[in-house]
C-alpha cells in the first residue's frame, strides 16, 4: 500500500522491514516461517500457516475472537508477537479435534445451537477448553468468568454457557443437570 501524501506527513517513511526466521509449534506441528517481526500471531497463523479458523475481530484486544492457547492459557493472537512465542505450545481451534473426532465442546456447541453466525465460536471454544482442562467441573459462575473476554454479538450467552456445561458433564460424567450440582462420586 502506498501511503497517501497526507498520511506520509505523520507516518514514518517506508522502513527496512526486520524479518526473522521464527519457529512456531502449532497444534503439535512445528513450522518455520520467515516473516516481518511486526506481524502478529493472528496474521502469521492465517496468512503464513493457512490456519484460518482463528478469526480477525477488532484486532485491538476488545473482542476475544482471535483467542488461541499458549501453553494451555488463553491469549489474544492479535496482540501477540510470534518472535516472543517460539517453542511455546500454541493451540488453535483446528487443534481441538483429535483424528477427525470433534472435541466434546464442539459437539455440544453444535447440538445445542450455541453458535449463530459462528464468528466468535473459535475463540470461545479454545477459551472453554482451557477452562475445562484446568477445572473439569466448573460452576456456572466460573464458566462465565472464563468466557468474560469473548464477545458474541448475535445473541445471548445462555446457549454458549449451557454447551460448556454439557461438555463438562460428558467429559467427567457426574454432573447433575436437575440440581445444577456436581455429584458426590469419586473426585467430585
Amino acid at each position: 500500500m502506498v501511503p497517501s501524501p497526507t498520511l506520509a506527513v505523520n507516518i514514518a517513511p517506508l522502513r527496512d522491514v526486520h524479518k526473522a526466521l521464527i519457529r512456531l509449534r502449532v497444534n503439535g506441528e512445528t513450522h518455520e516461517v520467515y516473516v516481518p517481526v511486526h506481524k502478529t500471531l493472528l496474521e502469521v497463523l492465517r496468512e503464513d500457516l493457512n490456519l484460518t479458523g482463528t478469526k480477525h475481530g477488532c484486532e485491538l484486544g476488545e473482542c476475544g475472537t482471535c483467542t488461541v492457547l499458549v501453553d494451555g492459557e488463553p491469549v489474544l493472537s492479535c496482540l501477540a508477537l510470534p518472535i516472543e512465542l517460539q517453542d511455546r505450545d500454541i493451540v488453535t481451534v483446528e487443534g481441538l479435534a483429535e483424528r477427525g473426532v470433534p472435541h466434546p465442546l464442539q459437539v455440544a456447541f453444535a447440538e445445542l445451537g450455541a453458535a449463530q453466525c459462528g464468528y466468535c465460536t473459535p475463540g470461545i471454544l479454545v477459551a472453554a477448553k482451557s477452562l475445562l482442562d484446568q477445572n473439569p467441573r466448573p460452576t456456572l459462575d466460573e464458566i462465565k468468568e472464563a468466557l468474560a473476554g469473548n464477545l458474541c454479538r448475535c445473541t445471548g450467552y445462555i446457549k454458549i454457557l449451557e454447551a460448556v456445561e454439557l461438555a463438562a458433564q460428558r467429559m467427567t460424567g457426574n454432573w447433575k443437570r436437575e440440581t445444577g450440582n456436581w455429584g458426590t462420586g469419586s473426585g467430585a
Partner: protein
Amino acid sequence: MRLPAFRYLAPKTLAEASRMIADAGPDGMLVSGGTDLFPNMKRLQFDPRILVGLRHLSELLGVSGDPHRGMRIGAATPLHQLGLHPAIRARYPALATAAGSVATPQIRRMGTLGGNLCVDTRCNYYNQSYEWRRAIGFCMKRDGDVCLVAPGSPRCVAVSSSDTAPAMMALQATVVLSGPDGERTLPVAALYHDDGMAYLAKRPEEILTAILLPPVDGLRNTYWKLRRRGSFDFPILGVAASLRLDGDGTCTDARIVLGAVASRPVEAIEAEKLLLGQRLTSDLIEEAAMAAYRPAKPLDNTDLTLAYRKRMARVFVARALRELANLP
C-alpha cells in the same frame, strides 16, 4: 489494523535491556505484555522504530517474600497471577482485586503489573484510529496542539486508567526503577505527574523492574471499580482504601486513593484526616466520602456521564470504607 514496522530486540539480561533502550533513544520503546502498547501502535498513537522486549527477563519475573516481611513482585509478572496468588488475595486484597479486574482473562494473562502501572493515559479524543483523529484535527497528546476536551487547557487531561496504581498507593508500595546509572526506588505516588502526556516520572531509558509491598501489619485494604461492563472496560472510577484500626477500633492509618479522576491517581488527603484518631461510624464515613468526593474532578472524556462519575466517587468511597470497617 496492522502494526507499523519496527525492529524487535530481545535482550537476555536487564543490563543488556538498559543498554538497548538507552541506545535507541527516542526511537525506542519497552514492551512486555503488549496489551496496551500494541493497540496504541495500531492506531499510530505510538510509532517506535525499535521495541525492546522485556517479558523473558528473569530479573523481572516472580513473586517473593510474604505479608509479614513484605513482598517483592517482578514487574513482568502477569496480572492473572496476582489475582490468584493466595498471600496477595488474603492480605493485599486491594491489589488482588485491582489486578483481577483489569480488562479480560486473556489480557490479564498477557498484561503485566509493571505495564498496568505504566499504562498510557486515556481519552475519548485520543484512543481512536489515525484516520478518526485526523478527521477531528488531532489533539495535543499526539500529532496536534490543542486539547479537544478542554480547549483552553494548557495541558493534556487524558485520564490515568490504571487499576493497580491506586491500589499500590493505598498499600504504600514502592517501585524499583533501573537505569544506566543504577537503581532508584520511588513511592508509587511519586511515579505519576498530573499531566496526560508526561504522566510518568520514570525516565524513558529507565526500566520498572519490581514493586515492593511493605509488611501488611494489620492494614485492611480494598479496591472498588466502576465501569460500564463487568469485564473488558478500563476503570472510569477506581477507589482504593486502606485502614489500620487499633484494639478499640480507633483508626490509626488511612489511605483513600481515587483512580480515573485525573491524569494521575489522586489521594483524598482531607478525607483521610477526618478518619485518623476516630472510630468509624456511618456518619463519619459519610463525612469522609463527601471530603473525598470534592477533589474528584473527572472530565467529559471517558465513558458514562460526568455527573454520574463524580457522584459515584462519593458512593464508592463510602462503600469501600464500610467494607473495611465491617459495617453493613
